[in-house]
Symmetry: C2
Subunit: 222 residues, 2 copies
Amino acid sequence: MKRNAKVSTAVIRRLPRYYRHLCELQEAGVVRISSSALGKSMGLTASQIRQDLFCFGEFGQQGYGYKVDSLREEIGEILGINRGHTVVVLGTGNLGRAIIQNFKFSSNGFQLLAAFDVNPKVVGTTIAGVPVYHADQLEDFLARHTVSVGMLTVSISSAQGVCDRLVAAGVRGIWNFTNHELDIRQKDVVVESVHFSDSLLALSYMISQGEEDLPTEKEEKP
Amino acid sequence: MKRNAKVSTAVIRRLPRYYRHLCELQEAGVVRISSSALGKSMGLTASQIRQDLFCFGEFGQQGYGYKVDSLREEIGEILGINRGHTVVVLGTGNLGRAIIQNFKFSSNGFQLLAAFDVNPKVVGTTIAGVPVYHADQLEDFLARHTVSVGMLTVSISSAQGVCDRLVAAGVRGIWNFTNHELDIRQKDVVVESVHFSDSLLALSYMISQGEEDLPTEKEEKP
């Protein structure tokens, strides 16, 4: 599969959405879909869809649309879903616990190996089958297991310290829920932060604008 | 303040980030910042920053940079932070509870009025000072209070039903954490969904690509 070298952040951000929509289409029994129908369900134009997917090679056939299962598989491949990624959770407060219990890591290609905390009430227990170890055991665990990603749901004051320990032990990515802007020197370590405030402020903007000039994905330049 | 009519989704998505960075700069005592320094801290080019802010009128002065406090205030104004938005939370499981306890609604211009659940163990209690009412009281509450946004942290099976009730009662926006694609017919109601899986898959993509071709914001077309 041909892949064009430079892929913009905007396209990368849309890839998981494609994947999600294609999974839903497949579950609904849809076998083949045109770029215009796929676009409609995603709030994108057909030409933007064709441009996005062209970044990763030639999918689909002119006039026949895309085969849902193989496009889903190809995009999953691009996203790294079959690479055997693993994750550990740092911090099992309400947010950590909610994500451990409800988020389908395996559907996204990740195996959730363990969680870490310092609270004696949870250390030694399991959450949805996931063992919770004391944070002191983190380095030992990381030495014995290949861990791709550390998910940070610790307090904001502990965030940088825990992040430093994960990076020193060789994790490749940090999934950051702490709202702290992590300082990472290693260029090969990637941070993905979930900022709830960015999402709520975007909503605030949209409801403030009122009906007449609500933005749509269509206005985004491809 | 002049505002250009068509603002792309990409720019809107960056506005909350500008706001967040400017708040941090202000807290750190920074009075004035150049577009290149602001860009550096946000992973954007100076020209992209100038272009983004130009969508909303003329900020800053050639050669003098931006005044941090007034730019923060202007962007806050654009985002609707001073409009007296209000929010109620639907569902006080781990995720709802985590957000009620830890998320600073007021810093984002929202007043959190109440939470709703069906669980007899939590109905009648308060979470971080927020009263929890029975879901049956939702319509009555919405009739007596002006509520801008309903935050959905119910189970995926309850999501559409609760959303329909919120929309029928006149909320302007839905902050959706349920991973369900909500079906809303009213054009003046906005949905903002937080999809944890989109975020983890973007991280999966980036760690799968390895060091040599990690995407940066700079590659994004303005």
